[in-house]
Symmetry: D3
Subunit: 136 residues, 6 copies
């Protein structure tokens, strides 16, 4: 009797898409205006879903207040009002596409969520562009 | 060639989170402000999804007008503008967490939707806190 | 060169509509299911707007972080996860309709926002029912 | 390490639900006001999801700008500000229910998206009525 | 102490933009794809706002349930799942632009809302295109 | 018989809040994490409203397609996927707060919208923080 429970958190960050192994011309050709060397930014929406059986005493799969605290302490605090390329350790040599951001966040959160619970991360870069890891 | 079709309905209700086997102190410690004895409330959003093959004559998996009528008659009518703990038979001895509400609603709807169709219930307690049963 | 700046905050509360001068029958006749003696509830959205000239040094009419702190300290803290009728001083003898809630919140906030700034409160009881005070 | 990436596009179209093998009375009985011979219409929202492994050089499963171009060229251009029954080749003899529209769009897009990538189409006829093909 | 109270209702309709005094070429030149002779359509959102003083006995400017009934009986019923050009009396010789629709609805509603209450109509043709009458 | 018509456009940009006349310490004290020297960013939503009488021949106050083109050519193109502080001429010596951005955009648009039409700009920095110029 497994239930999925989800919590949405937000952060605002700058980034640029950029492969340091490539010339500026190639970065511009591949990533277009997303390669702007002076950065652009987004209001990211992050939805974290955990799957498990509700505890019969509490009726909770996980206390969403605690899940929110985990997401804020281990993810949001490190990226909110930051430059993803410059201010975080994650994207020094990894391109901060929505796909890569989602995988990075999933790996961080996996360390802090009970291993008996399945974990999924959904990241909205805009309302119209979003990713999910792992894929459904 | 299975298609999933979904219908969203809304209801407004009061509830409190509370385990009657526990002391008030323990309820307060575990459920925090959600344990308020005088209740609080939500605008719940309920999304019901059924999965099946479209009927070749109608192009419908299910007539969403009829699915809406089923949800309203068997679920919404019993919970809208109600106190989930006091005014419904479901949560006398079951804690009305989003997880438990979703499972209860799924069991009710399962009786009224063609058994050939798979059924999923998604319940938004707020825009940022939501659950799905069965888990994907 | 006046600019209006707005901040949205949320709270979840229970309430019932009820005039203590009336019989139960009259309350039921006038307020329908909103008069349920066991309460129902909402995810309220509160938008507070202040109007003034941006400070030339900061570019702010008001620091929205500070406006958010004022709204949370003086309004949200007193109503979130509360029963508006029972747990707050405001609606002991005043019916907690959206209209009355908006006026009460405006009066509270008016005490804590610089009198040189005009103040407006918009309250969404649901996405489809909302009020504004003062009216535009 | 598969990631799902999604792009949302919009179109506005007229349609009616109608089975030409049936009498007007039967169409009216089955499809109700959706059978109106003079048509009605919707702001459709179309979410296209592809699943695959991010390219290690780009960090993209697929460039969402390119996916957007594919959706616009092969789907949106053919249906936006159109009458789905009269102006498109797809629904001459197929009833334009949300289910059938989603399957038709999936078949079109399947021709234009790398076969190594899984493909899903989600179509919102209204915010409260939506379908997904293939079902999850 | 005037408060504005608002109620949102929805309808789905087909229309085309078209001036019968003009040639097809001119209609196409002015209205572009909106002039499609076979129509297109929208999920319209209609927000009706009334302004007045709350009744001290009820705390209501107007009972939003009654306002909703008025909007549904006198507006929505006449346009939902209809072709605005063909199926309604309003747009036989009047072009159904969002501006004209809003003015027509305002005139209808003005007959059915207490003249002591100010009345405003806001109409969303899409989430990105909307109008208000009278202008603020 | 004046009608207000509105068009919403979007852009994604990086910025920092910063007064060059102040020390880093003072900027940090006043603007907090918004002063991050490496920038952060937002998905801005821009709503432009014009007020006037509908043209009796078209039913339009203004063709929203043309208003959209004006906004895109004269505003969005200059700020989308840009760093507001570094990549635009507007915020070299002006702090890019939402208030200042709105006023700058209003002045640009005022040059390109018929002077007979009133003009208002609403800018959402996030869903919860937004400004309007001129104030209502």
């Amino acid at each position: 009797m497994k239930v999925a429970v989800s919590r949405e958190e937000h952060f605002n960050a700058a980034h640029r898409l950029f492969n340091p192994a490539w010339s500026d011309e190639k970065n511009e050709a591949v990533f277009g205006k997303c390669a702007n060397p002076n950065y652009h930014g987004h209001n990211y929406r992050l939805v974290v879903t955990v799957v498990g059986e509700p505890n019969p005493e509490t009726g909770y799969v996980i206390d969403l207040k605690k899940l929110s605290d985990v997401i804020r302490s281990h993810v949001i605090r490190n990226v909110d009002h930051k430059n993803l390329n410059l201010d975080t350790p994650y994207f020094r040599s990894l391109n901060p596409t929505a796909e890569n951001i989602a995988v990075v966040f999933w790996k961080i959160l996996r360390e802090h969520v009970d291993p008996k619970l399945e974990l999924t991360v959904k990241l909205y870069e805009t309302d119209r562009n979003f990713v999910q890891y792992p894929a459904p």
